[in-house]
Symmetry: C2
Subunit: 393 residues, 2 copies
Amino acid sequence: MKDMTIKNVNALYHGFVDIRIRDGLIDEIGQSLSDVTGDTEVIDGSGRLLFPGFVDAHAHMDKSLLGLGWNRNEVGPSLQEKIDNERRMRVERNIDFHQQTTRVAERYINYGTTHIRSFVDIDTDIGLSAFEGLAKTREDLRDDVMIQIVAFPQSGMLARPGTVELMESALQNGADLVGGLDPSTIDRDPAAHLNEIFRMAEKYDVDVDIHLHEPGELGAFSVELIAERTRALGWQGRVTISHAFCLGGIDEAHLQRLIDLLLENDIAIMSHGPSGTGTIPPVERLYKAGVRMCTGNDGIRDAWGPLNMPDMLLRAFILAYRNNFRRDDQIEMVLDIVTNASARMMKVDAYGLEVGKSADLVLIDGETHVEAVIERPPRWMVIKGGKIVVDNR
Amino acid sequence: MKDMTIKNVNALYHGFVDIRIRDGLIDEIGQSLSDVTGDTEVIDGSGRLLFPGFVDAHAHMDKSLLGLGWNRNEVGPSLQEKIDNERRMRVERNIDFHQQTTRVAERYINYGTTHIRSFVDIDTDIGLSAFEGLAKTREDLRDDVMIQIVAFPQSGMLARPGTVELMESALQNGADLVGGLDPSTIDRDPAAHLNEIFRMAEKYDVDVDIHLHEPGELGAFSVELIAERTRALGWQGRVTISHAFCLGGIDEAHLQRLIDLLLENDIAIMSHGPSGTGTIPPVERLYKAGVRMCTGNDGIRDAWGPLNMPDMLLRAFILAYRNNFRRDDQIEMVLDIVTNASARMMKVDAYGLEVGKSADLVLIDGETHVEAVIERPPRWMVIKGGKIVVDNR
């Protein structure tokens, strides 16, 4: 891997600069950097936009049906129908999770994604096969994209005996986090579900990421239960609540109490700007209150539906659209969420457009960084750890 | 203009066929059409997707700031702030409406749009200049895209004396429709506003298209007033209500009464799947009840915000996303709305993938028509009236 100097780029938060990369790290950021001699590649950015690598903080790479021919989706509307339909389809179609997660990862990389937190389904039908497939992909592609894996009981945990043992096995074999799911509406026993999740978090010293689709006051109750356990275990800064639709469906006073709880326990919120007309978390309010926000693409072309794509600029657009962010400062907030904020949530210390950080960079044609969210041009170049992984020169 | 035969395309509602075009019209659709001699161009579709031309039934081409450098948007949240901000900016920036509408039209054409209904703002500051600019663009590009023009009192009508006279002048000089706007919340006199709109409709024998952002019961009252005037004037089939957010914000019994009113008076509803978390019309329910539905991109990169693009496949995606349409049959409904349904609403008799209709066609790479809504590839070829207007062979 050669060192390189990228000349004349419009870098997020820096303006027009040159960037020097040495040993895979950002070595210098400045205007009109002098040429260095030796084995250094010089890239003329021609004033293109430069972003830090895009971060997907909530993916389901194992679910994707990409590359298997168009899946005609006829699934019913309820969450349980979608879960059952997917479990059935996986058996019928004999899904190869290593192949599928590789396909998804390659498209993610082409869109400039350098870091992904992906859930993997663990249940008593497929066992650990989704985890093992994604773990192999994570290893194969470790120089091209960083993947965090969450052991996730999509089909229920307490309600499906044997699942906890499988999750523990995943955590013993390289899963990075433990994931929970709708403690009331799926497992029907919120306290017991969360006790089990936090028991595993402590035992394996891992962070927690909980899917919470539960609406209104029921979901708000789950947020409180999660916050109580976060405090009890001293797990502040180590818990994310994903979706959290309930934060858009409760009254003002209750919302403020929950925001205080989230802040006290440094719990992050993931919102992907969901489809439909249900309630959604008030992203700008949470962000401005100091709640750590992150986002992701959720499932890509899977049994749940075809709507999502592995492009974090499209996700930024969707998050802006769903929240009616029309001002540039609001869309810049979304750009922070698809880059730095999501990376901080994932605790990627080496991340960022700063000297000493990993050279994870995306170059794109365009006039302003906000315009890139609207126009979403093909990525001109993607660099991961100083290595060019996408090159459309 | 040569006649042509397009071989081997996957045509919407037809499957894999050949299409023969003669004198700008679709002359034959069938499998393995025999070759004809003479001056005929043969195009190998290679199994690509073929759609009828995309239809934008609700645009604001005169508002766009495309090509003028990125506009940093700092506008406040209220409708009145957006209206005032735009009127001020137009004077400050000395907008050339012919140039701007041409820029927007060219991008529309590149995305395969063959028919557009565009509003033009008419007010006592800019007078008829937006109308005149778009009318010239309509004439310049008449072989490439069909444009309908709605005379639209964006800044208020009764509340801004002199506006009605300007609107009548536009209608005398080639505006195709008369447009209204929030009869209660802008003009503060719903009966008088609508009486004036329908008076002009009758006087100039034109159809009506009314922006209705008014929420809940207030908007529902406006729907009733519009339906009463539609019936009184015998204007059934000639009235569209655009946005109609209120249809998502009233109780079930009232919604059913309004649906009955819409059906009795054959009033169409335009929904573009708006940004934000407000109520939206229940598109699938209205469509299945038989209400004529249409959609459009609204404003493109203008003083109201940057979020929209002139791509009806992106609009189809947004409409699907906002309505949580995940099944293929639902996304196929959206494809009907961005093509045939919107064209019927605009009364484009020559439209459609049928023998005898104008050869307005879009060819796109892809496996299924629904996939094109998700992947939105560049348009491979666009044909308008038998003329190739976009050629990416």
